[in-house]
Subunit: 236 residues, 2 copies
């Protein structure tokens, strides 16, 4: 693990252990250097990653402060490590409705930047939060990047498998959100009524190298889902 990531994790753990509230001032920059016995640039990088992750905010000339949202059970729209990380105080389970290797449609090809010859995994899962239906998710994985998937893996966190077993480095993602009325078919899957409201998201996940590997379309149960987006100061 990179040194600054290790230090960032330690600082985050300190905030959690001490249960520090939003706005609490953290030790001064120079004190952090001494406390962790690392270089100036390691602390700069650690603080940057913590700021990006919405865990702290920095005020020039004033200090470093704890940033914490108080509401729990919200799906984070900005982190992209899968629900299993977002909602780790909840039990997330999945029922695999479909798992097949197919020739990608034009839409999937254009998103995953692949050709007709490159097969993709098509996985459709019903996902539960504390045994209630959270969403129905339809994902396409580029099989040149994800060469193997099975139902056992898909029942658990596919992202954990990609990271732990395939050693893939998940980078960034783009998400597009629309509010829709449910179709007959989707309403049956979600055990709702036709024309009930829903959030539809389309997400494209990239490896750290910038290669897209997962295109997903997810429809959320409006009574069992809520979302959270933290924005940082972007003085540009």
């Amino acid at each position: 693990m990179l040194k600054y990531v290790e230090i960032a994790e330690k600082i985050e753990q300190y905030i959690i252990d001490k249960d520090l509230k939003q706005g609490t001032k953290l030790p001064k920059f120079n004190d952090l250097i001494k406390q962790y016995g690392v270089s100036k640039s390691t602390i700069v990088n650690a603080l940057n990653i913590l700021e990006k992750s919405g865990i702290i905010y920095q005020i020039q000339g004033s200090g470093i402060f704890v940033r914490r949202n108080q509401r729990i059970g919200y799906v984070n729209l900005i982190e992209n490590q899968g629900f299993t990380t977002d909602l780790d105080e909840f039990v997330i389970t999945s029922k695999v409705l479909l798992l097949e290797k197919i020739i990608p449609s034009e839409e999937v090809r254009s998103n995953l930047e692949c050709s007709k010859d490159e097969l993709v995994y098509h996985v459709k899962r019903l996902r539960y939060i504390n045994e209630q239906i959270l969403c129905v998710e339809e994902s396409y994985y580029n099989s040149t990047i994800v060469p193997y998937l099975n139902e056992e893996i898909a029942k658990e966190s596919i992202f954990n498998y990609l990271k732990a077993a395939l050693r893939l480095s998940v980078g960034f993602s783009d998400k597009y959100l629309h509010v829709i009325k449910l179709s007959e078919q989707d309403s049956q899957i979600l055990e709702l009524k036709k024309e009930d409201p829903a959030l539809l998201t389309e997400e494209l996940f990239y490896l750290s190298s910038g290669t897209p590997f997962d295109f997903s379309r997810t429809i959320y149960h409006y009574e069992h889902s809520q979302f959270f987006a933290q924005s940082n100061s972007l003085n540009i």
Copy 2:
């Protein structure tokens, strides 16, 4: 303007002028130092702000690449400079439904961290995108921070007024999103039907100093709104 913000803006302008596509490699780090005639740390800071803003991505040992989403007309859930910035290729107008100075309710007090003695501005606006209804927005501004507002200001971008006239530095924000069925009253305002779907957002905006100053509740017209969230690599 800070030097690194100026350089970040120049690099962004370069990407726009050249119409560079996602994945295009930018000049090397050392070449950027020479090209802009600035210090190493200025380039580091400029690249960090561009990465945070989702304009580039950096791959250690490999280079700096353009990041660009292709879809236009989406409300950015992460930037927090108001619609007027998000949707600057569209015409955003507002109709002020209500503007009053009131004693804050308990909910508003707890969000804005103020007391009963501190009056708040309560502004309700119907907002239009290209003359179509985009959303109805109900905002509460702490009057110790925003001491003056009137209908003329509220008809335009309140955030532009806060930044330009009041010289406030808008920092970060927390947004909570829920999908709901419209009430009779809200459906009439949005010119939709009762129980039609809608996105409800609750947002709390902070100054760069960490003080909350604006608590807003917004209900979006599901046929005229769509949302975008970019997530960065958070390898923590």
